[in-house]
Symmetry: C2
Subunit: 116 residues, 2 copies
DNA sequence: TGCCCTTGGTACCCTCTGGAAACCATGATG
DNA sequence: CATCATGGTTTCCAGAGGGTACCAAGGGCA
């Protein structure tokens, strides 16, 4: 029994809060095939604002999930890339994303049945 | 290529937003072994307030992930139970929770290294 | 006949984050 | 000298998250 995650003071909960964030999930999926620049990420992840994307990337870098590499060029270039730790997170996250894709119809049907 | 999840108007994103919520994750894990009452859930999931738990359970019921069964008793009794759809979500969520447990040390180390 | 107990929530309030839009520094380029 | 592109930052605002107090409906008990 791994009830650890239910203790609000347990580190596992902190991690769950972080990686449970929808933007973090989408960043991991966006970077699964290699490094990307800030603007590429912003364009790839529809609906994210630069402020929130910056916050998300900074937090993920702080947690060792990705690296931030700044090139001394003009115009500036910054590349984000998953660390091995971040890459190891891809499989579980992909499993959740796959679930969402496969069951979206059922969920939407239930939602509409409840609403209407 | 399953880039669907990156379109903000894609239903998959809506689902991802819902099940990505940390309380939903913990509710699924709490109910994986059978039905539970409101108070049991509130006590099992440390730190959740009744308001937020109610919101979460109502939304999950609306999405067909769990059922809400009210017994006409006094004091009132309400049982929440995962539907088959909700149970199918357990495996992917458990994978993420397992990842968190296995890598919490690495993340905490990275976080402290960045802070200090 | 009151009084308290339990459960499953609501109501109220307040903070704090998520998001929208505007702005900025740099230097190459026309 | 104006323009353009990048990778953000700043400001402001609404709405969600969260804390605390309270409520309704009986049953048991004194």
């Amino acid at each position: 029994m791994n009830g650890d995650a239910f203790d609000p003071d347990c580190p596992t909960r902190l991690i769950l809060d972080r990686i449970g964030d929808k933007w973090s999930v989408l960043v991991v999926l966006s970077l699964r095939n290699g490094p990307r620049r800030f603007t590429e990420l912003r364009d790839a992840i529809g609906g994210v604002t630069p402020k929130v994307l910056t916050q998300t990337l900074r937090a993920m870098a702080r947690d060792g999930l990705l690296t931030r590499h700044v090139f001394a060029e003009v115009p500036p270039r910054v590349e984000y890339e998953l660390t091995p730790l971040g890459q190891s997170l891809h499989a579980p996250i992909q499993a959740v994303a796959d679930w969402a894709e496969h069951h979206v119809n059922e969920v939407m049907a239930a939602r509409e049945a409840a609403t209407g």
